[in-house]
Amino acid sequence: MGYPYSHEKETVVLSRGFGDPATRTLARWKEMGGYTALEKALNLPYEEVIEEVKSSGLRGRGGAGFPTGVKWSFMPQEKKGPHYLCCNADESEPGTFKDRELMRWTPHQVIEGCLIAAHAIRAEHVYIYCRGEFFEATQVLARAVEEAYEAGLIGKNILGTGVDIELTVVAGAGAYICGEETALMNSLEGRRGLPRVKPPFPAAIGAFGQPTTINNVETLCAVPHIINRGGAWYREQGTEKSPGTKLFCVSGHVRRPGNYELPLGFPMMELINDVCGGLRPGRTLKAVIPGGSSVPIMNAEECASCTLDYEGVIECGSMLGCASVIVMDDSTNIVKQVRRMVDFYAHESCGQCTPCREGTQWLSRILVRIENGKGTEEDLDTLLELGDQMTGTTICVLSDSAAAPVASSIEKFRDDYLALIRRGERVGAA
C-alpha cells in the first residue's frame, strides 16, 4: 500500500500499514502477524535461515543489488569474537524516500528483520544507523525498540530461545557519505565518516575491527516475510534474476508522486503513466533518472521499453540503484538539474581522495559557467575527460556517481548544452 497514494496494481508486502500510525505499536504489529517470523527463525539453525534467504534470491535494496543470502554467508564460519549487524538507515540518495517510510510506519518490521539477520550472521549486537536528518523516523524507531525490549523481543534470551541480541539506534550527523558502508562503520565508531579501503571487506574486518554485515533497511524488511512464507513464495513475485517486490520512490513531474510497492520487472511507462497518474497535462516526457541521482540519466526513448528490474534497466543504459525514479518532463532545464546534482556531490564528498575532492568542485564550477551562458564547446570535452579521470580512481564510488550524470546528460542531451553555449538559450525553466 503506497504512501501517500496507493494503486490497485501494487503488490503490498513491505508497505503494509503505511499511513496508519497504529502500525507503529507493538500490539497492532502483532495483530498483523508481526514477530512470528522472528520466533520461527530463532528456532532454526542459522545456516537454514541463510539458505532460505539465499533461495528467495533477495538482492540488496541499497543500490548495488548484491544477493543478501550470499553476503551473509561471507561471515566467518568460525566465530572468534563478536559479530555485528549494521542496518543502513542513512538513506540520503537524492530521490530516495523508502527507508524513511518503512521506519516511520513499520518500525517493528525493521526491528524484526534486523533480529533475524543478526541471528543468521550470529551477531550479538545490531546497530541501526539512521540518517541525521531523520528526526521523526529515528524517534518512532527508538520508541518501537523500547517497546520491543520491554516485551523481551530484544535483549537476553529472546522469546525463550536462548538467543541474545542487543539493538542500538544510532543517529548520524548528516553526511551522505555515511551511507557508504565503510564510512558508516567509521562514523559508528566515532571517527570521521571516511570510506575505508577494501579489502579487507566488512565481513572480515568491519565495525570495531570485527566481522560485520551491513544491510539496507528495505532488504531487512523483506526478510521476515521470506522466513514466514518461504523463499519459493518470494520468487513468485518479480523476475527470475530480480525476484520479489520493491518500493519505488517516484518524484518529479508526475501527478501522484510517492512510494509504490511493485514487483520487480514492472514496466517503467506503466509506473509513470498509470500508477503515478501520468505527467502534468500538455507535457511530454523528457528524461528519467531511474535509481537515484548516482545512476545515468535516461531519455524518453530509452524509457519506452524499460522494465524496472536490475537487468532491465542496465539493458536500457542505466541502473536500478535504489529504484528512486525521478521523472522530468519537457519543462526541465537539464543543465541546471545536472549542476544541482553535481553540487550535491561536491558538498558531500568526504575529501579523502583527490579526484573526488577536487573533481566534483571543478565539474560544478564549469557547469555553473555553462549555465550562465559563458561556456564553450571545449568545456563539454573537459567535463567528459574530468569525469573519466574521476571514474575508477578513488576509494569509494561517490566520485564515479558524480561523474555519471554529467557524462550521460552530455551524451543524451547535448543539444541542451549547445543551446546554452552557442546561443545563450535555456531549454526548460525547471
Partner: protein
C-alpha cells in the same frame, strides 16, 4: 645482522619487465623502490600508516579489474606490474591535474620550491598545460604555533602531518576539519603545536609547501642549499641528519633516515640548535707566547715553538681537559699526546639534564639526558666526567697545577681569566674566543664538527660518521691533526693524514674501536665492540 636461522618468506614479481624478489608482505610501491623505480605518491610515508587516499600511486596490475594503489597492494608471487603503461600514466596524469585545480602556483615565493613533490611529479608526469579556468578556493595562512606555519592553499591533503601527530608523536594536535573541497588541516582551538617536542617533523614530511618552518622562512632557496650528511650534536642520541648549508652557513638541520637510530625523525630540540655552528667569534690563527704577549703566527712556526717549549719544560705531570663535543678522532689524538708526554688524567665536562623526551612510537629515539654527542666516546677512551650538569665547575683540582695543562674544545666559560696561570705550559685548542683561554701559552684554532670529517659514539656505543659541511675559518684545522702531529713529533712516528687513519689509531687505544674501519661504518654507523672480559679479570 646476525643470522637468526629463520628465513623470511619471499615473493618474486615483475615490475616494468624487471624481476624483483622481496619479503612477503612488501607493497608494490616498496618493491618498485627496491628496483630504484619511484612511483609517485603523497599520502604514503614509510614511517606512517597508508590511507591510500592521494590516489597518485596507481599502477596497472595484470589481472586486476582497475588500477591499484601500489602503496597498499601487497606484492604477490608471479604478479606482473606496469607502472608506466598508457593506462597508468593517463590516470596519474589525471589525478595530478586535480592537484593543481586549486593550487595557488605560488612557487616563486614558496619555501618548498625546488624540493616540492608537486613540482617534481607534475614535471615528470603531468599535463603541459592546465585546463582550469575557474576561480580557486582560498584558505590563506595559519599559524600552527611553535615553529610551524600552514599555507592551506598549497596543501594536497595527504594527511601525513595528521598521521604523524596521531601515530608517531601520539599527540593528536592536528585534524582535518570540514569535508570535500572545503577540508583543511587545522589545530584544535588555539592550542596549536606549541611545545610539542617532535612537531618539526611535519615540515619535513609535508610533500609540498603547506607546512613550513618559521625559522627557515624565506631564508634560502632549496636548490641553493648543499646537503652534507652529519650527526646531530645536541644530545647523545646521535640522530642522523643532513646539514643544509649555503654561503658557509648552516641554514637548517634535517633528519636523515636511519631505522636503527632515529627512523625518519629528529626532535625539535636538536633541530633548532645549529646557531653555534655559524658563530663568528672564532679563533682563526695559532697564537704563541712571545715574551709577555701572544702573537698570531702560522702553523709551522707555532708547532716548532710548541715542541721546543715541550722539550724545555721536560718531564712534568700532565693534565688534560677534553670535550664531549669532540670527535672520537680528536679525543684519541689527545689521548695519544698525553701518553707521549708520559701519561696523565683526562677529564671532561658535559651538559646534562634530568629529562628525556622520547618519541612515543619509537621510544628508542629520545632526546637523551647527555646534551653532547660523544660522551660515550670520551668514556671509551678512559676519560672521566667532572663538573656539574651545566658543564661548569669540577676544575678545582687544577688550581696551582704546575705541570703541562692541555685544554681541547672546552672554552672554559666559567673560569677566571688567570685559569692555568700556574702551569709550566698551558696549551689550549679551541674554536671560540674566550677570556679564560687568553692566558694560555699556546692557543691553537681547531675546526668544529661541522667543518671536519670524523665520528661520534652515541649513547649505545654506535659509532657514526659525519662529513664536513662548512669550511673552517682562517687557519683552523681539525683538532686530531694538530694533536696527532705533536704526538708523532714526540714519538718520532708518522703523522696520520686522514681522519680514518686517526680512527684506526683510536682502535689501538681502546678495544671498543679495535678493527673497525670507516668502511664498516658506512653512512649508517655500527656498534662499537663490546670489550671481552678476560677470565679472572
Amino acid at each position: 645482522m646476525a643470522d637468526s636461522g629463520t628465513k623470511t618468506e619471499r615473493v618474486t614479481l615483475t615490475i616494468d619487465g624487471r624481476e624483483v624478489s622481496v619479503e612477503k608482505g612488501t607493497t608494490i610501491l616498496e618493491a618498485a623502490e627496491a628496483l630504484g623505480n619511484r612511483i609517485p605518491h603523497y599520502c604514503y610515508h614509510p614511517g606512517l600508516s597508508a590511507p591510500a587516499q592521494c590516489r597518485l600511486c596507481l599502477v596497472e596490475v595484470e589481472g586486476a579489474p582497475k588500477l591499484q594503489a601500489s602503496c597498499i597492494t601487497t606484492a604477490q608471487d608471479g604478479q606482473v606490474v606496469h607502472t608506466q603503461s598508457d593506462d597508468a600514466l593517463r590516470q596519474r596524469k589525471g589525478v595530478l591535474e586535480f592537484y593543481l585545480a586549486n593550487h595557488p602556483l605560488d612557487c616563486p615565493i614558496c619555501d618548498q620550491s625546488g624540493e616540492c613533490k608537486l613540482q617534481d611529479y607534475v614535471f615528470a608526469e603531468g599535463r603541459k598545460h592546465g585546463r582550469n579556468r575557474e576561480p580557486k578556493r582560498v584558505f590563506g595562512r595559519d599559524d600552527f604555533g611553535g615553529d610551524i606555519l600552514f599555507y592551506g592553499d598549497r596543501c594536497v591533503m595527504c594527511t601525513r602531518c595528521v598521521r604523524f601527530m596521531n601515530e608517531a608523536a601520539q599527540d593528536p594536535l592536528l585534524t582535518v576539519v570540514e569535508r570535500g573541497n572545503r577540508s583543511v588541516i587545522d589545530t584544535f582551538f588555539d592550542e596549536g603545536l606549541e611545545g610539542s617536542p617532535y612537531a618539526g617533523n611535519i615540515v619535513d614530511i609535508c610533500p609540498v609547501g603547506a607546512l613550513v618552518s618559521k625559522d627557515f622562512l624565506h631564508k634560502a632557496r632549496a636548490w641553493d642549499l648543499d646537503h652534507t650528511p652529519s650527526i646531530c650534536p645536541n644530545c647523545s642520541q646521535g640522530c642522523n641528519i643532513d646539514l643544509h648549508t649555503r654561503d658557509n652557513r648552516v641554514h637548517r638541520l634535517k633528519p636523515r633516515p636511519n631505522l636503527d637510530v632515529n627512523q625518519y625523525w629528529m626532535c625539535d630540540y636538536g633541530r633548532h640548535r645549529y646557531d653555534w655552528m655559524n658563530r663568528t667569534d672564532r679563533l682563526e690563527a695559532p697564537m704563541i707566547e712571545r715574551e709577555d704577549s701572544r702573537v698570531a703566527t702560522g702553523w709551522a712556526e707555532a708547532l716548532e715553538a710548541l715542541t721546543a717549549r715541550l722539550e724545555e719544560v721536560g718531564d712534568r705531570p700532565v693534565r688534560a681537559i677534553a670535550s664531549p663535543f669532540s670527535s672520537n678522532e680528536e679525543l684519541a689524538a689527545l689521548r695519544l699526546l698525553v701518553n707521549a708526554l708520559g701519561g696523565g688524567e683526562i677529564h671532561f665536562r658535559s651538559p646534562r639534564t634530568d629529562e628525556e623526551i622520547p618519541l612515543p612510537s619509537f621510544p628508542k629515539l629520545t632526546r637523551r639526558k647527555d646534551l653532547a654527542p660523544n660522551v660515550k666516546g670520551a668514556e671509551f677512551l678512559g676519560m672521566a666526567r667532572v663538573g656539574d650538569d651545566d658543564a661548569t665547575g669540577g676544575l678545582e683540582g687544577l688550581e696551582g697545577f704546575d705541570g703541562i695543562l692541555l685544554v681541547v674544545g672546552d672554552a672554559l666559560p666559567d673560569c677566571a681569566p688567570d685559569f692555568g696561570s700556574d702551569a709550566a705550559l698551558h696549551i689550549h685548542l679551541g674554536s671560540y674566543t674566550s677570556r679564560a683561554t687568553e692566558a694560555a701559552h699556546f692557543r691553537l684554532p681547531i675546526a668544529t664538527h661541522a667543518e671536519q670529517e670524523g665520528t661520534f659514539t652515541n649513547f649505545e656505543g654506535r659509532v657514526q660518521r659525519f662529513w664536513p659541511g662548512l669550511e673552517a675559518p682562517g687557519a683552523a684545522r681539525p683538532g686530531w691533526l694538530v694533536l696527532a702531529a705533536l704526538a708523532a713529533h714526540l714519538e718520532g712516528t708518522a703523522v696520520p693524514q686522514r681522519a680514518e687513519e686517526m680512527f684506526l689509531k683510536a682502535g689501538e687505544l681502546t678495544p671498543h674501536f679495535q678493527g673497525i674501519t670507516y668502511q664498516d661504518l658506512g653512512t649508517r654507523g655500527a656498534l662499537a665492540n663490546e670489550p671481552v672480559a678476560l677470565p679472572g679479570a
